[in-house]
Symmetry: none
Subunit: 417 residues, 2 copies
Amino acid sequence: MRAEIIAVGTELLLGQIVNTNAQYLSRGLAELGIDVYYQTVVGDNKERLIQAIDIARERADLLVFTGGLGPTLDDLTRDALAEYLGRGIELHEPSMAKIVSMFSARGGSFVESNRKQALLVEGATPLRNDTGLAVGNALNVDGTCYLLLPGPPREMKPMFDNDASAWLKEQLGPAKTLHSAMLKFAGIGESGLEDLLIDLIREQQDPTIAPYAKEGEVAIRVSTKAADAEEAARKLAGTLTEIRGRTSSYLFAEEDVPIEATIVRTLTEQQRTLTLAESCTGGMVSELITTIPGSAVVFLGGIVTYSNGMKMKQLGVPAELLEGPGAPGAISAETAVAMAEGMRASADSDFALSITGNAGPAAAEDKPVGLVYIGLAERGRETRVEQLQLSGDREGIRLRAAKRSLYLLWQSLTGRC
Amino acid sequence: MRAEIIAVGTELLLGQIVNTNAQYLSRGLAELGIDVYYQTVVGDNKERLIQAIDIARERADLLVFTGGLGPTLDDLTRDALAEYLGRGIELHEPSMAKIVSMFSARGGSFVESNRKQALLVEGATPLRNDTGLAVGNALNVDGTCYLLLPGPPREMKPMFDNDASAWLKEQLGPAKTLHSAMLKFAGIGESGLEDLLIDLIREQQDPTIAPYAKEGEVAIRVSTKAADAEEAARKLAGTLTEIRGRTSSYLFAEEDVPIEATIVRTLTEQQRTLTLAESCTGGMVSELITTIPGSAVVFLGGIVTYSNGMKMKQLGVPAELLEGPGAPGAISAETAVAMAEGMRASADSDFALSITGNAGPAAAEDKPVGLVYIGLAERGRETRVEQLQLSGDREGIRLRAAKRSLYLLWQSLTGRC
């Protein structure tokens, strides 16, 4: 079954709201094994909506609408579909009774326009709305399926998950659904990862392999259609083993989590603690780590030292590293090491990461934008330091430096270096 | 000019990411006075992409693409458009030089697939990419305009705001364009602000008044169409004066900047310095402040104290506040005051903000999720403390606590309290 999602609402075209419904429905349809080929957004305009239906009808056999089922004049979806199909409109008595009783319970008088929310396209199956008033519609007309769902996410989501999904499964019959495995990578870019897997990607058929980048990390989704989880696991196993073998230096999780989640989990398992000494990342690494619930158990804290005075006073970085002719300066391997070691000793943590560099926009200490040093002090081991030359804007440099520092820590934690 | 936005990417159709680009572009096009009639999402499939172009070509005279300009095999947008237009592909030498130099600066060897990111549809105007590698494309073919922008928001947004918008203005000619003033507010929610301005919003015609919330702050855009900036200023003046008069306790900027930018600018003007002592926000306030270029002049640094040990050792919070029966605990007004005063004294800064609280997901110290204390120590003044009970998830609580702390500092800096 090939689906198209049609979101109806001028507020989407004006950019007043984000179309999160399209994502929710896409994911939900994928889980049912239904391929979404297009998403469309059209305004509250009957003529253009009918044109959109006509186009979608040519290229899909399931049209899922959200929005335009409400009480106001610009709620047109039901009318437009009825007109397109040459059908009438009928009242759904139970929905009407619910609306009337809701109004009397609130002590308000019934507003006539609300009657619209109890209407169905002639012959449609009603879809229950547990969190609002507008009844949903489901129709199969000559093999093309139509689902009409409300626009507000808190009404749309339960209606899709309950009545709409059940109705779709009936239409699909005992078919196969899509099962996916997600692999997450750090320390490598999207093109570098694709290079490692290029033959697998080129020859992919079933399972499919889709790489993508997000928020400073790279992910791969490996997918196949199967009747159940067991069959899916069997079909995915070979591809997953091959990918794992080639990417073990970078593969930090087999679920959709950021590397900071893996770090917090691993530190917790190993009962080890972390502190941070940040300069150019300005607290971003702390912020990432503390995003993870439970991080308080392993993350003692961190110090953001933006001034040289703070580096000396709080971290004990020697003045001769920072100031005076011939000093390596704040942006140097020596300072990164001193920051990490000073932080670790002061807090008596098992690990301390330090990051110092120039995130831009201008050169600092005559060091180029993008030059970053990362230090990793570990109890009982020699401190490591890595020099990076990153490109991009200030936020991009900071994010990549932060993620790279977590990658170095992950390597140490998992015995990869 | 009627526009259609075409987002290209199978990850959108699978629901792996939300199409925030469509919102950003819709809003940006509206500001240029361009109406968006449709948004379409299509996967990484050349045949379907060409069909989508063909449909859009019938119903729009500006096609704005995002996605599919990257280095990998499934990045097809440029090729699809060239094929649709019957044009060739040409190398943009400056973009190629930039890619090669980026690789050599990183010390990595050039990966051949990256060459793709320097390609243009024959005859296209290149659009500079300041935050990534893929060059954008702008074409006007027989009165239909095509813009090819990258998919990652951090590359797409600056390219649209800079080169693409400038190119679109050229295509539009000296028509009346939309001029807007942006007002930014902190310390008040969207509905609270709307209450203050409800009569203006109800009666608006020209200028229009549009409030919206973003990233823990509230903004109002006041817009009018005018031939030039001078005429626009004349038309906007009355409305702006009225809004300023009603909202002066909250209005921190008359441009689209976050409150941390106003804080850094004001501290710089006043030659005063700031330090931070964060617990539940975990470095978020430091991260926000250091996002602003030039923050190093006024922000000395901060300490993230997640453990009680760090609070005592690094900030000098007395043990009797934190531990033992009857102690107020880490999440208390007393500890917030001690953290702020300890931080300020240790770094000898003019201001120190402290934030301690429970961001969830579980109760801590028997304190409810969302309970947050903010302390503000200032040289020569009594330390202030504020108690908040915030709602929402962990990230929402952290963000609102961080923004609220900056609002308190802004009030002090500008003599509002």
